[in-house]
């Protein structure tokens, strides 16, 4: 059965390498390469899904990769988002998205697939770079000046974060003599207060934190999301960010669980995560309130959501054997899945509005319900989901997260999370007001391309469906939790 994922990897590898050749062969129909990649991604998702539903515990590629459910969840989420991005790109800019664009997307997808299953620090780093490098190019693919500036900023920050991760890997190798995550974790368990180990752990937090968009490593996010072509912003917010989280779950949680950074009882990893979570959600939500452009607003909202996800890390690192820990990590993984769906939908809507109305400021959304009813509806559901309004999917994952930290020690974090969540409705409701209540400049219908409509329908179905029947999704997410500590 392991062959299924091998086939998926091979398919993506082949499409990455062969797609650019189409540019030589057929200079007119760029969309052909998009269709091919969509088919390849569809096949890969099917293969991963079949494997994840019928898992067979076989070691795979030695000890570099482990085909467990945790990897399956993330592979499905990231590949699914990539597929939505490819499908949306088909309509987005027919002229400028050539086969090289799709080939780069394919490389990123391959990187994320491998990253999801990585259980060795070196493999993880290689997959990380395979995922990141193409996105630096993709962020600047649209040859406008702003796009290029954002791409350069993103590339520099990305390179820096890679360097930090690499340094952390080298430190932990020096300490533990292994790059195998489980072996590294073993060492950390037996040396709970090594200062150098603490430095390595914090470096991991910083390195992955850039991708996860944790405050204070978030500064590049709004610029990059705003400057990049919107399908690529979707990819960054809904897929590569999730890759940051899988790396953090695999490495950080294994390494830092129960780990005390110094001998002071205050400075534990759980407290570090708690402070980061509080900062991340608060800074994200407060900054989102003042934004004038939709992509920047969604970028800050995405930062805030990363803060909610971190709440589960707090519960897990505080006491990994408790039921609150598995509740929290399930909540985190569930919220990651939900966030990919909701933020993917919101960004695709923003992209479609940008493409059809040539505007990204919030004023473009006035009276959108008359002009683009399907987009308007999808956007509304996505925003309500992000705010955590029941019975949409975002409500359930937030509920699990808040319940997981309601011990006396971290109860304040649950309260802060709920209040943040309420606060966030402030700016989401403001957009919904613009869409449905304010009058726009015109009421003329604007075309909504069929591929977008199909993607929107699937995403809205998922948001409402998971919201009404969350049990299956919770089971799916919780099935991945035992894989964390190996």
């Amino acid at each position: 059965m392991v062959d299924l994922i091998t086939i998926a990897v091979a398919l993506l590898g082949a499409s990455s390498l062969l797609l650019p050749l189409l540019q030589l062969y057929n200079g007119r129909n760029w969309n052909l390469s998009g269709y091919i990649l969509a088919a390849v991604l569809g096949a890969a998702i099917l293969l991963v899904a079949v494997f994840t539903l019928n898992p067979t515990p076989v070691p795979w590629f030695g000890s570099l990769l482990s085909p467990d459910q945790l990897g399956g969840v993330f592979a499905l989420v990231t590949l699914g988002v990539t597929l939505a991005v490819v499908v949306a790109s088909l309509d987005f800019q027919r002229t400028s998205f050539n086969p090289v664009y799709y080939s780069l997307l394919s490389f990123t997808a391959l990187g994320m697939l491998l990253l999801s299953y990585s259980t060795d620090l070196l493999m993880l780093f290689v997959a990380w770079e395979l995922m990141s490098l193409p996105t630096y190019v993709l962020a600047g693919f649209d040859k406008r000046t702003q796009s290029n500036e954002a791409a350069v900023k993103y590339a520099v920050i990305g390179a820096m974060s890679s360097a930090i991760i690499l340094y952390a890997i080298s430190l932990s190798y020096g300490l533990t003599g292994s790059t195998q995550i489980s072996a590294v974790a073993q060492w950390y368990f037996s040396h709970p207060a090594s200062p150098l180990g603490g430095v390595a752990a914090l470096l991991f937090v910083a390195g992955f934190g850039f991708k996860m968009s944790i405050v204070p490593f978030h500064m590049w996010i709004p610029d990059a999301y705003e400057g990049a072509p919107t399908p690529i912003s979707t990819l960054l917010a809904a897929a590569t960010k999730k890759a940051g989280f899988i790396a953090a779950i695999r490495v950080l949680l294994a390494v830092t669980t129960l780990y005390v950074v110094t001998r002071s009882p205050l400075f534990t990893m759980a407290n570090v995560f708690a402070v980061l979570a509080l900062l991340t959600m608060t800074v994200g939500n407060v900054s989102a309130l003042t934004q004038k452009s939709m992509t920047r607003l969604l970028a800050y909202s995405s930062i805030a959501q990363a803060g909610y996800i971190l709440i589960g890390f707090v519960a897990f690192t505080a006491d990994p054997t408790s039921s609150a820990a598995s509740l929290g990590l399930t909540g985190s993984i569930f919220h990651i899945i939900n966030h990919a769906i909701m933020k993917g939908a919101a960004f695709l809507c923003a992209g479609l509005v940008l493409m059809q109305l040539k505007r990204a400021d919030l004023g473009a959304y006035n009276g959108l319900a008359r002009r683009m009813p399907i987009t308007a509806f999808t956007m509304t559901i996505a925003l309500l989901g992000l705010a955590g309004v029941p019975p949409l999917n975002g409500f359930w994952s937030k509920l699990l997260l808040f319940l997981s930290v309601s011990s006396p020690q971290f109860g304040w974090l649950a309260v802060a999370g709920i209040l943040n969540s309420a606060f966030s409705l402030g700016y989401y409701a403001w957009i919904i007001k613009r869409i449905y209540i304010d009058e726009g400049e015109s009421t003329e219908r604007v075309k909504e391309p069929k591929w977008f409509v199909i993607v929107f329908a699937v995403l809205v179905g998922l948001m409402i469906g998971i919201g009404l029947f969350p049990q299956q999704a919770i089971n799916f997410a919780s099935g991945a939790v035992p894989n964390v500590l190996g």
Binding site: P391, L403, S406, K433, I437, I474, N475
Partner: protein
């Protein structure tokens, strides 16, 4: 296991997309379909109310229960759990009735985006039925939040000139309140470890007193915004004035009842010991709301705004009656509160609908500019006088009985609260003054533009039950008795 309550909740929810499509295809038939579906829901609601009247459940028991496991994960479990008793069944019935009447009234008053409008009405109806039948706190919270969304759009899209401001104010106030309420629920859930539960019947009477104070405060804020109590009320005049009249009917008749229901079912039902300790504070707040609403109503020039403040005054009675029973043990308070919710829904509902007709026909709602309605709009004026009588608490309308019971219970709690008798006096005063200025004055023109007989008949549906109830008050008071006994027993 019965499935009637699920039918009550899901029939409107499923009807929502259906009427959207129908009304898009053909407006006329769409509205007929809406009326038909609302009548079916009313039929189901009547059946449920009849069941409750015929076999009132014993104190602490619920009728027509449905319970299924919805989510279960480790220690976290959540049931889909519905049930009804003498507290919820009058509200279910009046919600179904008012929805039907609101649709009836919307035919003339709503002239844009009809498909969305009717779809949202059914979404609202389904959610409200969910609120009144949920016996699980999280399920209750979910329906509670779903109610907000259609109301936000009703005010924002179909509202008056300041609709945008009113809609945002409405959603931010009520969402903030309900978030704090959710915090309270989670606090209870976690405090009940190692056997946590969200089920109201298994929590009632089993929450240790130390665990009651904070959730009582949290739920108080959530419900006080909805009821609304002064000083959480400022969203209400804006929302009422801007909302189209059929929606004002639902807002005053149904949405405010969520607050009163929440106080009885959750604030008192789950946190009785803490409630008793602070009952004096709740009584004071209730009394203050009653006076504030009445006095503020005197000052209003806009007919609709005046009725809106009347609502604040009348809903203050609900809180006052509920807590008067806790202090004195006099069951009249809770029974009166339940009756007051029912009568207020119909009396104020008819007034709001009427203000919509008056604006539609006369072009204004300003009391000083409405002159001589008695001559130019005789039917409207007659209904206005009758509906005002119902709102004042004038016999033979059952609102008299409700207010009488509440004030009596208040006096048996603290004699000083006898001053509350002044509230109906002030209310009567400003209603009579309004009638003097609008109905009994001389008209400026002579043209007659009155409502037709069909509309007149629809107002009979609002007012006749109020007259019937003063004779047959047992229909509400008998099933309400075990509820009152149960709540008093807890305290």
């Amino acid at each position: 296991m019965s499935f009637v309550l699920s039918l009550l909740v899901f029939l409107p929810l499923l009807a929502s997309p259906l009427v959207y499509l129908l009304t898009r295809m053909n407006k006329r038939w769409g509205v007929y379909a809406c009326l038909g579906l609302a009548a079916v829901v009313l039929g189901v609601a009547t059946y449920i109310s009849w069941q409750v009247i015929a076999n009132p459940p014993a104190p602490g028991q619920y009728l027509l229960q449905e319970q299924y496991s919805w989510i279960s994960f480790k220690s976290f479990g959540l049931d889909y759990f519905l049930g009804t008793d003498g507290l919820s069944s009058p509200l279910i019935f009046v919600s179904a009735l008012l929805t039907l009447l609101a649709i009836l009234g919307s035919r003339k008053l709503i002239d844009k985006h009809e498909p969305e409008y009717y779809a949202l009405i059914f979404l609202f109806e389904g959610a409200i039925m969910g609120v009144f039948t949920s016996l699980n706190l999280i399920l209750f919270y979910i329906f509670w939040e779903v109610v907000l969304i259609p109301m936000f759009f009703f005010i924002g899209v179909w509202g008056g000139p300041r609709r945008k401001y009113a809609a945002m104010k409405f959603i931010l106030f009520t969402y903030a309140g309900s978030t704090i309420m959710l915090l309270g629920f989670l606090y209870v859930y976690l405090g009940m470890m190692p056997v946590p539960s969200f089920d109201i019947p298994s929590l009632a009477g089993h929450i240790p007193i130390g665990l009651q104070y904070l959730p009582l405060l949290a739920s108080f804020i959530g419900f006080a915004v909805k009821l609304p109590l002064v000083p959480f009320h400022t969203w209400l005049p804006d929302a009422h004035v801007e909302a189209p009249s059929p929606i004002s009917v639902l807002l005053a008749g149904v949405l405010l009842k969520m607050g009163g229901y929440g106080f009885l079912r959750i604030s008192i039902g789950l946190f009785p010991k803490a409630s008793v300790q602070y009952a004096w504070a709740f009584l004071a707040i209730g009394l203050f709301s009653m006076f504030y609403g009445a006095v503020a109503a005197v000052l209003q020039k806009d007919l609709k705004k005046m009725i809106a403040f009347t609502s604040i005054n009348h809903m203050g009675f609900v809180l006052f009656g509920a807590y008067a029973t806790l202090v004195s043990g006099n069951l009249l308070g809770i029974q009166g509160a339940i009756l007051q919710m029912f009568t207020h829904a119909l009396a104020v509902g008819s007034l709001f609908m009427l203000s919509g007709y008056i604006q539609h026909q006369a072009g204004t709602r300003e009391i000083p500019s409405l002159k001589g309605l008695g001559l130019t709009m005789p039917r409207t004026a007659a209904i206005l006088v009758l509906a005002s009588g119902a709102a004042m608490g004038l016999p033979p309308f059952a609102s008299f009985l409700a207010e009488f019971m509440v004030i009596a219970a208040g006096i048996s709690a603290y004699t000083i609260t006898a001053v509350s008798i002044l509230v109906p006096v002030i209310t009567a005063g400003y209603f009579l003054w309004m009638i003097k200025r609008t109905v009994l004055s001389l008209p400026e023109g002579t043209e007659v533009h009155d409502m037709d007989l069909g509309d007149l008949a629809s107002f009979a549906v609002y007012l006749i039950p109020l007259v019937v109830l003063i004779v047959a008050s047992y229909l509400i008071l008998t099933p309400a008795l075990p509820v009152a006994q149960f709540l008093r027993g807890l305290a």
